[in-house]
């Protein structure tokens, strides 16, 4: 079965640079979520989109922005990168309000040097 696809899988950037992470949800899923997991930390919710509209917002820095496109894929844009942004970024998708049952992608590991 098709899963959530994230690209790139690994990304190395320097401080103050910009990064764009992409997420392709499971076909027919209309809801996308972004999570950030720092080293030794639990995943933290960043933001979610339902039917191309922002549905919920968590601890996402103002330097980050995200959107969901007409084909339901989503992009997380990160500017003025800081060392502390180094983390594993997960995207997840679901079909509507799925009772918490969301499917996670493999993650993008971002390293800021």
């Amino acid at each position: 079965a098709a899963g959530v696809i994230q690209s790139p899988r690994h990304l190395i950037k320097e401080k103050r640079e910009t990064a764009t992470l992409k997420c392709y949800p499971i076909p027919r899923h209309d809801t996308v979520y972004w999570y950030q997991q720092g080293p030794g930390q639990d995943p933290q919710f960043l933001i979610s989109f339902y039917e191309k509209m922002q549905s919920d917002k968590g601890s996402i820095p103002d330097r980050f922005s995200a959107q969901q496109f007409s084909d339901y894929h989503s992009e997380l844009n990160m500017s003025s990168l800081e060392l502390g942004d180094s983390a594993l970024y997960f995207c997840a998708s679901s079909l509507g309000l799925a009772g918490g049952k969301v499917y996670f992608g493999p993650g993008t590991r971002l390293t800021v040097t």
Binding site: Y33, D42, F45, A92, L97, G100, K101
Partner: protein
């Protein structure tokens, strides 16, 4: 703010025995509790969920128990298998988006052959 805590960072059990993973929460305003399993360098995988109106949900070797009075959630794995070795996260889903999961810190389960 919803807080979920897993107080045991690790658990080691023998193959064939029961594994019991625990989770405490502080906020009762939610609809679902969930357990996810995570292998290194992979995204979390949904295991099992329970609605807040229930106290038990079973799926194969996995059973989740919800004690609302104690604000406690547990996952029982019987019998445990070496392939169950992973990090287990409990989470709850609340707010307007059921996918906005709040995770605990995770428990590393090791099942010895």
């Amino acid at each position: 703010d919803q807080q979920v805590k897993q107080n045991s960072p690790s658990l080691s059990v023998q193959e064939g025995r029961i594994s019991i993973l625990n989770c405490d929460y502080t906020n009762s305003m939610f609809d679902y509790f969930l357990w996810y399993k995570k292998y290194p360098a992979e995204g979390p995988t949904f295991l099992i969920s329970i609605s807040s109106i229930k106290d038990k949900n079973e799926d194969g070797r996995f059973t989740v128990f919800l004690n609302k009075s104690a604000k406690h959630l547990s996952l029982h794995i019987v019998p445990s298998q070496p392939g169950d070795s992973a990090v287990y996260f409990c989470g709850n889903a609340g707010g307007t988006s059921y996918g906005k999961l709040t995770f605990g810190q995770g428990t590393i389960l090791t099942v010895h052959p």
